[in-house]
């Protein structure tokens, strides 16, 4: 009769507790090993795409729509502030302009992208980059006519 | 010796597990309600329609005198009273059929009553006598 007796309750509880702790440890390592980093990368990808589109929309909106008054060469025609997220996935990033497109560069390989800019013909070039969370779009008049768009740091 | 089948005890573990499952389901329900739809936003589209209507009115030749149709209707109270029907008809013709509008000038308003619970696009045009505001929403 004694060999078919159960374990003492205290030992039983300790066993249960041990199993539960093991389970929690297993689950946590499984989640943090695969699921959580993938989710963070997915979220970072979405955030970076939206930040890039927000930046592109603001660069396009900064260009004034009329030829406007005659200004001297290199004079600033328009300025616009753009606010961007400070970090994506815990790290900084850079937004660079390349005449007809805007790209977001991030150290993680699946975060970032490039998008086209729709600008009037008067805009000759778009250059500069943003690394800060406060960006500035500066539109200058080119000496030979036309406009040049610069991305400058907002805190400068 | 008792038979433990009919007189079982509710295992505390099952209760604890039930509570744990409830927590997890509560977190998961945050995802289940869905996310906002994509495509061009309703607000952005309505704002664009309102801006288009304002631009067309501001650059149109007037019915009678003054610089543009918008300037004419905002010039004085008498001019507004005279032009309000023509203004309403013109805006009605410009905008697509599924839109309703309201135009406010310094001397009065024409159009439907603005809804309080739907997205409304707005455009404002400055004139010499004040500001003309156009609201547009889906019918």
């Amino acid at each position: 009769m004694t060999d078919s007796r159960a374990v003492a309750p205290a030992v039983g509880k300790a066993l249960e507790a041990g199993i539960v702790v093991l389970f929690v440890a297993l689950l946590t390592s499984a989640l943090y090993g695969g699921v959580v980093p993938n989710a963070r990368t997915g979220a970072a990808d979405e955030v970076s795409e939206r930040a890039l589109q927000h930046a592109a929309a603001n660069v396009e909106a900064a260009v004034p729509s009329r030829a406007g008054v005659q200004v001297d060469a290199d004079e600033v025609v328009a300025e616009r502030r753009v606010s961007l997220p400070a970090t994506i996935r815990g790290r900084g990033y850079r937004i660079t302009a390349n005449d007809t497109s805007l790209s977001l560069v991030h150290k993680h390989r699946s975060v970032g992208g490039t998008t086209a800019l729709v600008l009037p013909e008067r805009v000759r070039a778009v250059r500069g980059n943003w690394t800060d969370s406060e960006g500035l779009v500066r539109v200058r008049a080119h000496p030979d006519g036309g406009l040049v768009v610069e991305l400058a740091e907002g805190s400068a | 010796m008792r038979d433990w089948a009919p007189r079982g005890q509710l295992s505390l573990s099952v209760v604890e597990a039930g509570v744990g499952v409830l927590f997890v389901v509560a977190v998961a329900s945050a995802f289940a309600f869905g996310t906002p739809a994509g495509g061009v936003g309703e607000q952005a589209q309505l704002d664009a329609y309102a801006q288009d209507a304002a631009t067309v009115l501001a650059n149109e030749p007037p019915q009678h005198g003054d610089a543009t149709r918008l300037a004419e209707v905002a010039a004085s109270e008498a001019a507004f009273e005279r032009e309000r029907d023509a203004l309403e008809r013109r805006v009605d013709r410009i905008l697509p059929d599924n839109l309703m509008f309201r135009v406010r000038t310094p001397y009065g308003e024409v159009g439907h009553v603005r809804p309080s619970s739907a997205a409304v696009g707005v455009a404002r045009v400055p004139t010499t006598t004040g500001r003309v505001t156009i609201w547009v929403w889906y019918a």
Binding site: L15, E46, A57, T115 | G20, A28, G38, G41
Partner: protein, 220 residues
């Protein structure tokens, strides 16, 4: 039957339940992520291209929110190279496609209200029976006056009391004048004699506008 650890199988079942619910939640999160991918690039490109086409200095525009009928009929040539690369897009006017590239069926659409202007050239030859002036029946931004006077020569031309042409020796030939698009204009001629009918020809462009809806659909 041995009175085994009743708790341990119950515990195992309970832990299995928790693990299953966590797996279900992770799956739900994955599908929510997929649904949250609203593709902001499509809507931004559609809005930007529509804004560009409607702007006063757009490739098809005469002025803000007014497109020229001639440009619209030649849209694919005019818009060549002005639209963003690498994206399927379609530009429609009142539903009829003007430019189509690829298949943007599942993309974002932006619509703008525009007027399409038809510029027709008209000629008016005033017969100077009662007065030395003529009122143009349509508003126009500019006109070309051709003088072919015989004995009398026209020295001054006024548009709504504003002098637009003046030559003491008499105007001869064709002259372009600019007028206000917002006013009905009355041209009055000052001559040093009686003007014969047919000595002045007024050629002007009368614009008729029709409303239309411009749609831009982009699928990047």
């Amino acid at each position: 039957m041995t009175r085994g650890q009743v708790n341990l199988p119950a515990l195992a079942v309970a832990l299995l339940l928790v693990a299953a619910s966590v797996a279900a939640a992770v799956g739900l999160a994955g599908s929510a992520f997929a649904g949250a991918n609203t593709d902001p690039e499509d809507s931004r490109l559609a809005a930007s291209v529509a804004e560009r086409l409607v702007a006063a200095d757009g490739p098809l525009s005469v002025r803000a929110n007014v497109l020229s009928r001639a440009a619209v009929e030649n849209a694919s040539a005019r818009l060549d190279g002005r639209l963003p690369e690498g994206a399927d897009l379609r530009v429609t006017l009142d539903g009829d496609p003007l430019v189509e590239r690829g298949d943007p069926a599942s993309g974002a659409t932006m619509r703008r209200v525009v007027l399409v202007a038809d510029a027709g050239r008209r000629t008016l030859v005033p017969g100077f029976e009662n007065s030395d002036s003529v009122t143009l029946p349509r508003r126009t931004g500019n006109a070309t006056l051709t003088f072919d006077t015989g004995a009398a020569s026209v020295t001054t031309v006024r548009a709504n009391d504003r002098v637009v042409l003046h030559d003491g020796a008499g105007l001869d030939g064709a002259y372009d004048i600019s007028l206000s698009r917002y006013d009905t204009v009355t041209l009055s001629f000052a001559a040093d004699g009686d003007l014969a009918p047919g000595s002045v020809t007024v050629a002007y462009r009368a614009e008729t506008t029709t409303k239309a809806v411009l749609g831009v659909t982009v699928n990047a």
